[in-house]
């Protein structure tokens, strides 16, 4: 069993490593001290199990777990935490594997035997139950074996076609494999649905114009794209734009 250890504290990583060396049939293939490193190592080394600290600087453990799930063959995740009453309650209710630090060897071995992949919907529920931020701060796109993190505040719009969603952002364009509906729900504060297949960052809209045939279109700041507004979503869009300004 190939294992990746993710924790921002060196002594915590060291301890897990030495415990794992005593449990047979597992091999530590890497250590990461923050979320970004963890995602990089996940796509490079393809571990079977990730031991993931909940409280980390930068990308939190829960968000890392959601991005990990973008991988083609996502590893199983076991959370570790020293003390977080709310998160632990959430893990219990959602039956998500977790370990309390200092970790006991028997519990670690048991958790490894029962480690399982955690679906994004279950992670959202965990975040909600634990009273943590449910919205991601980044979107994760997969380019072959590489994971690419796109900060949500850099995104202009999401555009859906048959199979994938195109994310247009400050750094270019990427494809992601998610549903526009769940994206619209998750980022409903900052993004507005303008069409069955389009979701636009509200602060990136520079103008809403009416064409000769009575259709509305949205101009997107900076990137200069012009997007169609469907009749069904026009009213909602205008209300939000007026309400904000």
């Amino acid at each position: 069993m190939k294992i990746l250890i993710v924790d921002d504290e060196p002594p915590a990583r060291e301890r897990l490593r030495s415990l794992l060396s005593e449990i047979g049939d597992c091999e530590v293939i890497g250590e990461a001290s923050n979320g970004e490193e963890a995602l990089e190592l996940c796509s490079q080394l393809k571990p079977d199990v990730v031991l993931l600290d909940v409280r980390m600087p930068g990308i939190s453990g829960l968000e890392v777990a959601r991005h990990i799930d973008t991988l083609a063959d996502p590893p199983a995740v076991i959370f570790t935490t020293a003390y977080d009453q709310y998160a632990v309650e959430a893990f219990e209710t959602e039956a998500v594997g977790y370990l309390l630090k200092p970790v006991r060897k028997e519990k670690l071995a048991h958790a490894l035997r029962h480690a399982a992949r955690i679906s994004p919907s279950r992670l959202t529920r965990v975040a909600r139950t634990a009273g943590m931020e449910q919205r991601r701060e980044r979107i994760c796109a997969r380019l072959g074996d590489q994971l690419r993190l796109i900060p949500v505040e850099d995104i202009y719009y999401f555009l859906a076609d048959q199979k994938y969603i195109t994310v247009r952002h400050k750094g270019g364009e990427d494809l992601i494999d998610e549903s526009l509906k769940s994206l619209a729900e998750e980022f409903s504060n900052d993004f507005v649905r303008i069409h069955r297949n389009a979701l636009v960052a509200e602060k990136q809209i520079s103008a809403v114009e009416r064409t000769e045939d009575g259709q509305y279109v949205v101009r997107v700041r900076d990137c200069g794209a012009v997007l169609q507004v469907s009749r069904r979503h026009a009213a909602e869009l205008l209300r939000r734009i007026r309400g904000e300004s």
């Binding site: 600087p57 020293a82 009273g131």
Partner: protein, 363 residues
């Protein structure tokens, strides 16, 4: 989400819930006892003890249950008023109930006289005096009862508040996050570096010993700084070079007398809310100086501009605890100032310079 709901359910009324079965049963029992007491007291005036007891208890039961029903119905409404006004309104309503029941009994007596043989003795004859007498008794009894309810409710509330305050104080002293992370560090060090593990355990013991002092305990500033340094050593083991602390306290009079645990919690906060949330870590600046006859100690730390991980009330609670300690030591003459700007958090303690009485022994 769950909290406000719970809060709205907890009644802040001092009145017990008269809609509940136990309360109604208690009212019935009390009424019967009072009726019995009155019947015994008046035995010499009446020929028939049992008829008197029956009449009195019937009359009082109507009043008792009527009052319960009124209080049951109006409880939520009364709870929204200040206690003084709620009491006045409640007394007025209870007296009104007594008046109405008395009036009904009088009228019943007038019309029912011919049907009952004993009615002459059972029913009152003097209308106005009967009403007034009952309402006066009703007024005194309901005032006494409300006073009793109020005092019991206050007593219960103060016990609850005290328990809550103790829990908060305890949590402010020993933050579970720090305890378990330190334990984890020590567990790791016992394998790799037993010498350091030993030192960490000694440091942790010192820290907990200090945290067991009560809020009144005064120690020298030198010792207080030492407690903070002990805390720093433990965090350093855990966070490595992500944590840097710069001490600029050369100008502080170390013999000054201070309440215990006023600097260490600031350092703990700076690590928990600041350094730990930054991938590259940062530097905590602790600066102290003597300005005229006041000591000022400032703790500065970098913080994340926007925090994704919602922080709980820990920071505010620790600061509140320090404020209480300062207030106990120097009422009105010591305070904590906090400012947050440009990704930096500052907390500043300002308190009078008091010489240590035991400084001679210390040095």
């Amino acid at each position: 989400m769950r909290m406000p709901e719970q809060r709205s359910q907890t009644p802040n009324s001092f009145l017990p819930d008269f809609c509940a079965a136990p309360a109604v049963l208690a009212v019935v029992l009390i009424v019967e006892l009072v009726a019995l007491m009155m019947a015994i007291a008046r035995q010499s005036l009446h020929q028939n003890f049992w008829v008197d007891l029956a009449a009195t208890s019937l009359f009082l039961l109507w009043i008792g249950l009527g009052c319960s029903a009124v209080l049951c119905r109006s409880r939520a409404w009364l709870a929204r008023m200040p206690p003084g006004r709620a009491s006045a309104v409640a007394i007025a309503m209870l007296v009104a109930v007594v008046g109405i029941v008395s009036e009904l009994v009088y009228q019943a007596g007038r019309f029912g006289q011919f049907e009952l043989q004993s009615a002459v003795t059972v029913f009152p004859t003097d209308h106005a005096a009967f009403l007034l007498r009952n309402m006066a008794v009703g007024f005194i009894v309901s005032a006494l009862a409300l006073r009793y309810f109020y005092v019991t409710a206050e007593w219960k509330r103060s016990i609850e508040m005290e328990a809550l305050a103790r829990i908060h104080a305890l949590q402010a002293r020993i933050r579970p996050h720090f305890l378990f992370n330190s334990m984890n560090t020590i567990a790791s060090l016992t394998r790799t570096n037993p010498g350091r593990a030993e030192q960490a355990i000694e440091d942790l013991a010192d820290l907990f010993r200090a945290s067991l002092h009560d809020a009144h305990t005064q120690i020298s500033l030198k010792d207080e700084i030492e407690i903070a340094r002990t805390h720093e050593r433990i965090e350093q083991l855990r966070l490595g070079d992500r944590l840097r602390v710069e001490w600029d306290i050369g100008k502080l009079p170390l013999r000054a007398q201070v309440p215990c645990l006023i600097v260490q919690p600031l350092l703990e906060n700076a690590v928990y809310h600041g350094i730990e949330m930054l991938p590259a870590g940062g530097t905590i600046h602790i600066r102290g100086e003597l300005v005229q006859d006041r000591i000022e100690i400032e703790v500065r730390n970098p913080v994340l501009a926007h925090q994704g991980y919602r922080e709980r009330e820990g920071n505010r609670m620790a600061l509140e605890n320090i404020r209480q300690r300062l207030e106990l030591a120097w009422p009105g003459r010591a305070w904590v100032e906090t400012t947050q700007s440009d990704g930096e958090f500052r907390a500043k303690l300002i308190f009078p310079f008091t010489e240590s009485r035991s400084s001679v022994i210390d040095v």
